[in-house]
């Protein structure tokens, strides 16, 4: 029998208070080595506070955080060289170029023989390597931030909302970089506002709400256990269809475009509804069956949608 490897990150009974405000309330979770761990939560839920404590930027009120087996509070200087951090709203020195910025962080991490061009290539910044930071677009700045987070070849990479505020194209470019990290076996701790990002990239998702972790598992497991239904959407002319479906014990919802949406638990139910409609001479013009996504899980568990553009109101 083999013992499981130590987790890359182990958070135990972590609590953080700002005066009377309880930002993080006794949370515990582990992140496995080599996995992409997505940390989701509405604004003000405590996710940035949590990630900044793990990154050693903030100090906890109580509890322990171990990264790569090292207590981050007691031995910050041992762990910092082994992690890479892209903080929320990453920024750098305005008048320093992309190349110079990477070289600067390399010197800070005492990395003499770093492959600066390789990192520039990885972040797809080759054309911008001599551009000053202030002249970069939001997407380019984030990609530079990721390159800097990798400058010390870290074992664990923290990416705090790496795609917030980016347009869809820039977001996909950042995803490409993240996928290459995943491919290279890095442990990635990701906080994000985007459910599709978490679904696409994450092996494990944890949802935090009001300072507490309310769900944890793979995206598939979370959907399976929290949103075990199918959504059937029918386009039907006439008003009788809704009544027929309601009489079968379902709860249909109609919109102004003659679409009827019904949540069903089994695929058999779909067939039953279609047969009933056909029997009543109300065959649908089109139909669409969808599995619920992570967003539906999130909505169900937290009661609110994730919003972009606002940052957690954490006092300093």
């Amino acid at each position: 029998m083999t013992t499981p490897p130590d987790p890359a990150i182990a958070v135990d009974h972590l609590t953080k208070r700002y005066g009377d405000l309880l930002a993080v309330n006794d949370i515990s979770f582990h992140v496995r080595t080599g996995e992409v761990f997505a940390f989701l939560g509405p604004n003000g839920a405590g996710k940035s506070t949590t990630v900044e404590i793990i990154e050693t930027i903030r100090t906890p009120t109580s509890g322990t955080v171990r990264v790569l087996g090292v207590d981050v509070r007691a031995r910050k200087h041992d762990i910092v060289p082994r992690i890479g951090v892209l903080p929320q709203g990453f920024s750098s020195f305005d008048r320093i170029t992309v190349r110079e910025t990477i070289q600067y962080y390399a010197r800070i991490f005492r990395r003499r023989n770093i492959d600066v061009d390789g990192l520039i290539q990885l972040a797809n910044l080759k054309d911008k390597r001599n551009e000053q930071f202030k002249n970069l677009s939001g997407g380019l700045k984030q990609r530079l931030g990721i390159a800097i987070a990798l400058v010390n070849d870290p074992e664990v990479v923290f990416l705090d909302e790496p795609t917030t505020g980016l347009d869809p194209r820039a977001r996909r470019e950042v995803w490409d970089v993240l996928l290459s990290l995943k491919k290279n076996g890095k442990t990635v701790f990701l906080t994000t506002h985007y459910m599709e990002e978490a679904e696409l990239l994450a092996d494990t998702v944890a949802i935090i709400s009001k300072g507490e972790i309310i769900a944890r598992g793979s995206p598939g497991e979370l959907i399976e256990s929290n949103a075990n239904y199918l959504t059937l959407t029918l386009k039907i002319i006439g008003e009788a269809a809704s009544e027929i479906i309601r009489r079968m014990g379902f709860a249909p919802a109609s919109d102004d475009h003659q679409n009827i949406t019904v949540k069903v638990e089994h695929t058999d139910d779909i067939q039953k509804i279609l047969n009933a409609l056909q029997g009543a001479g109300a065959s649908p013009l089109s139909l669409d069956v969808r599995k619920p996504n992570l967003e539906a899980v999130f909505l169900k568990l937290t009661g609110e949608a994730l919003r972009e553009g606002s940052v957690e109101g954490v006092p300093e």
């Binding site: 506070t49 903030r58 920024s91 991490f109």
Partner: protein, 380 residues
């Protein structure tokens, strides 16, 4: 503390500085412009001369002699006013702040007073009550008017005293307390050096700490091996390098353009170091007290500008009212000015030591407080 990290920070700071034109201007060009402007204005302060308009209504040899006397060995450049002109209107039209009017009958009254008959002194004809009135038409709002009238009065006194035929009772002898004669520019240069270091250190510390914190750069740096000590030391070292560069530029221009004679010795280095620590520390405290970068910059300006004018950087403290002089003696920049002048102008080591002790105590207290108040990790 890591030399490599401090070196990396210095490279970034100096590169950023070299690419930022406004910072270059305010650190290097601005003090040089001040030196050039004020140095030129006060270049010939000892040989200053004023313009004086004189209306001679008598138009005689004696009145011409009086006009000549009023030149006061070059203190005045005389402009003659047409005797037919209205002198008050003339002063208004020509924007002249002083017109001296010599009345008609000047020569006749002069001859009666001295008892001159056909130019020959005749005591029997001397009239001790004979006199003339010279009129001053002046603009009281002009700053130089009172100085000019003072000078003319001293000239008139000389004439009156000469006509009395008696030698003066009180004679004056002048001895300077300084071993040699100094020019205004030589007093001005140390003040500009002190002002320039104060502005670059204080605003530099505020910009670096407040702006970078607000932008989130400090948050990123706090997740790297840089320590708070590395960060503060590299910033202080950077401010010290800037102070050396700006002081060198000021001195080179002062020597090259105005040929100043100043002592540049170890005291200059001491005062630069102490001033950088003092105002760098003050900047760190301001950054902590102010919530945002804009407030910190405003607070820095609020401290810097009054201090510049009150602490004797531009003009002597003696020109200010007593209560302002008392305030000035409580300002750190005053002691830097005093110390730099003591060492650079008078070569007075005792006075320099006294000033360095004062600014040294201030620098130590402020810098220690600055270190203690500078945040590195978030939300302690």
């Amino acid at each position: 503390m890591s030399g490599r990290v401090i070196g990396a920070n210095l490279v970034v700071s100096i590169t950023s500085f070299s690419r930022e034109k406004s910072a270059m201007f305010f650190t290097l060009a601005f003090p040089i412009i001040l030196i050039l402007v004020f140095g030129t204005i006060f270049l010939n302060q000892d040989n200053v001369s004023f313009d004086l308009s004189v209306q001679d209504l008598d138009q005689t040899n004696s009145s011409a002699q009086l006009v000549k006397t009023l030149e006061l060995n070059g203190k005045f450049k005389i402009s003659a006013v047409d005797p037919a002109a209205n002198p008050t209107q003339y002063a208004k039209d020509k924007k002249v702040n002083l017109v001296v009017v010599i009345p008609r009958g000047y020569e006749r009254a002069f001859a009666r007073r001295l008892g001159l008959v056909g130019g020959i002194p005749t005591p029997a004809f001397r009239d001790p009550n004979a006199s003339v009135t010279v009129t001053y038409i002046y603009d009281p709002s002009a700053s130089s008017t009172s100085t000019k009238i003072q000078l003319i009065r001293s000239g008139v006194e000389l004439v009156n005293q000469g006509m009395s035929g008696q030698p003066p009772f009180i004679r004056a002898a002048e001895t300077s307390t300084l071993t040699k004669k100094y020019r205004f520019i030589e007093f001005f240069v140390p003040g500009i050096i002190a002002m320039s270091i104060m502005t670059s250190s204080l605003s530099g510390a505020v910009n670096v700490n407040a702006e970078l914190r607000q932008k989130g750069v400090i948050r990123k740096l706090s997740s790297t091996p840089i320590t708070r000590t590395d960060w503060i030391l590299s910033n202080i070292l950077y401010q010290f390098i800037l102070a050396l560069v700006s002081t060198t530029a000021i001195l080179v221009v002062s020597y090259a353009v105005f040929g100043v004679r100043l002592h540049t010795n170890a005291w200059l280095f001491v005062f630069i170091v102490l001033e950088v620590f003092a105002f760098g520390g003050l900047g760190m405290i301001l950054t902590r007290v102010a919530n945002e970068a804009e407030s910190a910059t405003a607070a820095a300006n609020f401290i810097m500008f009054p201090m510049m004018f009150l602490s004797g950087s531009f003009f002597p403290l003696e020109m200010m009212p007593g209560f302002l002089q008392t305030i000035a003696r409580g300002l750190p920049l005053y002691y830097v000015n005093e110390g730099l002048r003591a060492s650079m102008v008078f070569a007075d080591n005792t006075a320099a030591l006294r000033a360095s002790a004062m600014i040294g105590v201030f620098a130590t207290v402020v810098f220690v407080l600055g270190i203690k108040t500078t945040r590195w990790e978030e939300g302690k």
